[in-house]
């Protein structure tokens, strides 16, 4: 089973960090060497992949048009779903990247009343909602973590954090994004297990990142709400890393190293995986091109001459019948 492979992989990773960080050498490995390696792999990997895409040209302007084109002045053009210019494209991309516009269209095909069948395409927003909840929570949590990587902590991070904790339950305050990310990940993974079609198409490479993210969020939340860890020491470690003067303070909890290691795995895994969709969406030619093909010519850098059948060749073959049919010819 593909999800079992992923589950075992994540458990092994957790165990490795939990027990591996027992010695001071292990702490240096998991606290300094691996984080540096992971972030280096992440940045280099993302650049490599993105430049790899950028190296291939966009030979044709193949936007998928999801609304009315701009043609006659009295017909309203659907600027965001079928943009004809840069501004529209920026709007379309912003909607895609920030709000998952295309996924919002999602429908579910169902057959009602066999055998006098009728297909019904109902709106299905759960996937959109789950995806949006996960991605926005992840982004906000990522930004919140800058409190460990910046001194003094920027006001924006503080503001975001107090907004996130506005519910004011538990000590310390439960953060909304914590609840959302875990809920969303459980949903996203659950549908891969429960929905027969989605289970059928899911690879280990689909289960693994979800489980990895779930373990990251889970260890983080567990530390915050239950086990408690020495945040001062953690920030000292983090600040040492970002100022290239790493120190490993004493007394950091194994669970913290587990959390950190899982994040490192996520960073290192990112560029070699489907998670690159983060960058890829910006490169999607069906979305990031204006549908102004007939107004402005798109250039294909490798456009090469092909063997064509010229009018002369055509007339040479058919001149007699054309003349017999009283059709004009170039050569008598």
């Amino acid at each position: 089973m593909r999800f079992l492979v992923s589950l075992v992989a994540v458990l092994v990773l957790m165990g490795a960090a939990y027990f591996g960080s027992a010695s001071s050498g292990g702490q240096y490995l998991f606290g300094v060497i691996i984080p540096y390696a992971a972030i280096a792999l992440f940045i280099a990997g993302v650049l490599y992949r993105v430049l790899g895409w950028a190296k291939s040209p966009v030979p044709f302007r193949i936007s998928t048009t999801c609304g009315q084109q701009r043609s006659l002045p009295w017909i309203k053009n659907s600027t965001l779903d079928n943009p004809h210019g840069t501004l529209g494209v920026l709007g379309r991309m912003a909607l895609e990247v920030l709000f998952f516009r295309s996924l919002f269209r999602n429908t579910k095909a169902q057959i009602h009343g066999r055998p006098a069948f009728r297909f019904v395409y109902g709106a299905d927003k759960y996937l959109w909602l789950g995806a949006l909840a996960f991605h926005w929570s992840f982004l906000l949590i990522f930004i919140r973590h800058y409190r460990f990587f910046a001194e003094p902590v920027p006001g924006a991070v503080l503001g975001l954090q107090s907004l996130d904790g506005i519910m004011q339950v538990w000590v310390p305050s439960v953060l909304i994004t914590n609840v959302l990310i875990i809920g969303a990940l459980v949903y996203l993974w659950g549908r891969r297990l429960v929905n027969p079609q989605v289970r059928y198409i899911s690879l280990a490479a689909d289960h693994f990142p979800l489980l990895l993210l779930l373990s990251v969020a889970g260890t983080g939340a567990y530390m915050r709400y239950f086990s408690k860890v020495d945040l001062i020491g953690i920030k000292q470690l983090a600040m040492g890393l970002v100022s290239f003067a790493p120190v490993v303070p004493d007394g950091l909890a194994p669970l913290f190293f587990t959390h950190l290691f899982l994040v490192c795995v996520l960073f290192a895994y990112f560029p070699v995986s489907k998670l690159m969709h983060m960058g890829g969406i910006f490169f999607s030619p069906t979305r990031n091109l204006a549908n102004n093909n007939r107004a402005a010519r798109h250039i294909n850098p490798w456009n090469y001459p092909v063997k064509v059948h010229t009018y002369e060749e055509y007339e040479d073959e058919f001149r007699d019948v054309m003349k017999a049919a009283d059709m004009p010819v170039e050569k008598e």
Binding site: P57, F148, E151, P154, S162, S243
Partner: protein, 129 residues
Amino acid sequence: MFDAGKVIIGLVIFLVLITFPVWYNATIGNASYVPDPQIITTAPACVAPTAYMKASHMDLLNQWRDDVVRRGNREYVAADGTVYNKSLTKTCMDCHSNKAEFCDRCHDYVAVGQPDCWDCHIAPEGGAR
């Protein structure tokens, strides 16, 4: 069409965002700052070991509050057998007497925000140092 310009702009934005901690701390930040909470020691030891207090003092304070306010239980027996009065102002603040120079130092450093203590208690402003 390669759109090299747009790709480069995108990558620069990515790099700037992802390396934020590095350039922030190298410029306007202060990476080498280590919080130094000030304590006026009048007691030989704290009610619990420092490592525990550093990470989990909020649990202990929460427990004390519930015990005192809801159950009227004011006695705390430490691991070494010493008995303490479960009181923020009468026990904790004997040593940790300055909010700004003790509590806030770490709370600001890791941005855990203002604790609820001072919703009811008056925050100590200066120690009898």
